[in-house]
């Protein structure tokens, strides 16, 4: 059990974490989400006693970390995959950590096997890829067989097989009754791994609820409606009639309409009543990723802008054309399509390109998950 109460951290004038209070319960994977620079790592460092909170406190199992008896046996942490002396071999790195907690050397070889690094155990870690570094960090966290595990971005740099392995490892650790706290900025990853979500933005708590509640609270259904492209007046007519009926209508960049608050049958009736032909009427569910982005968009510190390449040579044809819009960065292109509102709007990606298409609903979540477990068993 990890408990944060009124946790605040200021660096000079910048507040990294502000009045954060939450609990992380044992027996579940708790996802810790937030955009870059939202204070995730700072919070985790405060949990580990590395940074001192400006005010408030955080305890693990009722103790402040610095007063924990034999901390490495109680708390395992992966903070930074590259926080390793590059000149030391993987095995020796783990050995010096093991000796701190009185863990026998045989356990070192055991965890090296668990993370799949047994073949490079004697190699210096500065030759490791990011993924291998992550595995080494995970091995260090598992070393003391602790009841509380903290992972900061554990899947960064891992290959798909590794991501799957980490996902299953987290679930397994939680099912053994341990407290597992995982930070990530990938909603899609958390949707598959976590049971509980804590979302922060700009150092403040945005949401603290189970993943099921998060999905039902945040995934808004909508319908995509397309009218004949050559008849813009029909589109306007339909928009007016839908709005009158209480629906929310937002135009999409390709000319379609996104309608919320009205069932499909009602939209169809209204179109019929106002004598508008429909080319498309399809149900959609906003993905969890979209829900997360909607939640955190006001709290994003580092937002990319379009690279204008002014003063450079003309870009090759077809590249960076006006009107092109990256997913998740609408309204920040220099020439935003006029019909797109600045806030609360995310253009859905083209079909087949949405990597999160399978994640939104709880039911489809289970399906890929089950198959993945099967695959991992096969591979063993």
């Amino acid at each position: 059990m990890i408990e944060a109460v009124g946790l605040t951290k200021r660096y000079g004038a910048k507040t990294a974490v502000h009045n954060l209070s939450f609990q992380v319960r044992p027996g579940a994977v708790t996802g810790f989400l937030g955009p870059n620079g939202s204070g995730k790592s700072t919070t985790m460092r405060m949990m580990l006693g590395l940074d001192r909170p400006t005010s408030g406190h955080v305890t693990i199992g009722g103790h402040a970390f610095r007063s924990l008896p034999n901390a490495p046996r109680q708390v395992g942490a992966l903070l930074d995959a590259k926080a390793v002396h590059g000149g030391r071999s993987a095995r020796n790195h783990l050995l010096c950590l093991a000796q701190l907690a009185g863990i026998p050397a045989a356990r070192v070889d055991e965890v090296l096997g668990v993370v799949g690094l047994q073949d490079v155990a004697k190699k210096r870690s500065n030759g490791f890829s990011l993924g291998m570094g992550q595995r080494l960090g995970i091995a260090a966290a598992l070393l003391g067989d602790p009841q509380v595990l903290l992972f900061d971005e554990p899947v960064n740099g891992l290959d798909p097989e590794g991501i799957l392995w980490v996902r299953n490892l987290m679930k397994q650790l939680a099912s053994e009754g341990r407290t597992v706290f995982v930070s990530s900025h990938l909603m899609s990853e958390m949707a598959l791994t976590a049971d509980h979500l804590i979302v922060i933005g700009r150092g403040q708590l945005l949401s603290d609820m189970s993943i099921k509640d998060f999905i039902s609270a945040n995934s808004a259904d909508f319908a995509r409606v397309r009218t004949p492209a050559d008849r813009p007046e029909e589109r306007e007519k339909l928009t007016a009639s839908l709005t009158k009926a209480g629906g929310g209508v937002m135009p999409e960049p390709d000319g379609a309409l996104r309608v919320t608050g009205l069932p499909l049958s009602r939209i169809s009736d209204l179109a019929h009543a106002s004598d508008v032909r429909l080319w498309e009427l399809s149900p959609h569910q906003a993905s969890l990723e979209e829900a997360y982005m909607r939640m955190t968009q006001g709290a994003v510190d580092y937002r990319s802008t379009t690279d204008a390449k002014e003063g450079l040579q003309l870009p090759p044809p077809g590249y960076g054309q006006p009107g092109f819009e990256g997913y998740g960065q609408p309204g920040h292109a220099p020439q935003p399509p006029p019909e797109v509102p600045q806030q609360g709007w995310y253009a859905p990606p083209p079909p087949g390109q949405n990597p999160y298409a399978v994640t939104p609903a709880p039911a489809p979540t289970a399906t890929p998950d089950r198959t993945e477990r099967k695959t991992s068993e096969d591979s063993r």
Binding site: L48, L50, F65, R66, L68, V75, R88, L100, G102
Partner: protein, 259 residues
């Protein structure tokens, strides 16, 4: 709380499993011995060219430690790297997450590295002494002579203290590059130059290396150097005070600041 033997054991593993330890310590040994031997051989062959004052205060023991001016720099590098690589690699966060008691982390590290530096320092000191005396031939001395054992033993302690001082400074500055950038020019240039400048001399003789190196002199004011207002043991004491100050500073920085 991680027990003290566990932390010491772990720090020993850390220090013996990186190659920088081996290379810096070997350099300290080789540079000190080789330079000491070369200068001894040179002085032996050119003894007659020395000034009368230098001949009068000729100190065969001190001459054998001439290589320490450079050899100590390798010890500085060793001391800085032992602490500095924790910061540059980020290992410090892993270490402190495993040993939340920062005092026991720092002092275990310094104890292990300090003892190792002391052992290498003593070995260096005795080897360079015996080799140089052999090269000095008739002008040499031996361990049995008055104060010689003190000087040779003190030479080893001096090297150990230089390493520990560097560890303290590196803990305060939390960076290998910054620490080396300050300590190397200081010991190699600033301290040597200031101790030769008339006005600054009286201050420079209280610098850790200037004060500490008095322990290696058998003949007072050896090789016609400036007389110091303190004896050899007091000089070593002054150096020890510098070391203690650096360690306290390092401890306070480590305790107060976020890792």
């Amino acid at each position: 709380m991680a027990s003290a033997p566990a932390v010491l054991n772990s720090e020993w593993t850390k220090i013996r499993t990186v190659s920088s330890t081996i290379w810096t310590l070997i350099s300290a040994f080789v540079v000190t011995v080789a330079l000491g031997a070369a200068l001894s051989a040179l002085l032996n062959s050119q003894f007659d060219d020395l000034s009368a004052a230098e001949r009068a205060t000729f100190d065969p023991t001190f001459v054998s430690f001439s290589g320490m001016v450079l050899g100590q720099l390798a010890m500085v590098v060793f001391g800085v790297l032992v602490v500095g690589t924790e910061y540059s690699s980020g290992m410090i966060r892993t270490s402190l997450a495993a040993v939340p008691q920062r005092g026991s982390f720092l002092f275990s590290k310094i104890a292990v590295a300090g003892v190792l530096a002391l052992v290498v320092g003593l070995a260096t000191s005795f080897v360079t002494f015996f080799l140089s005396q052999a090269l000095l031939g008739d002008r040499g001395t031996d361990l049995g002579a008055e104060n010689v054992l003190r000087a040779v033993f003190g030479g080893g302690v001096y090297m150990g203290l230089i390493a520990v001082f560097s560890m303290g400074v590196a803990t305060m500055l939390r960076s290998s590059m910054l620490s080396l950038g300050i300590l190397m020019p200081f010991f190699f240039l600033v301290s040597q130059i200031l101790s030769a400048v008339p006005g600054a001399k009286s201050v420079a003789r209280y610098f850790p290396d200037q004060a500490g190196s008095k322990i290696m002199q058998v003949v007072p004011d050896a090789m016609n150097s400036d007389p110091a207002p303190y004896g050899p043991w007091a000089g070593l004491g002054i150096m020890a005070l510098w070391v203690v100050a650096a360690l306290i500073g390092g401890y306070l920085v480590l305790k107060k600041r976020d890792a």
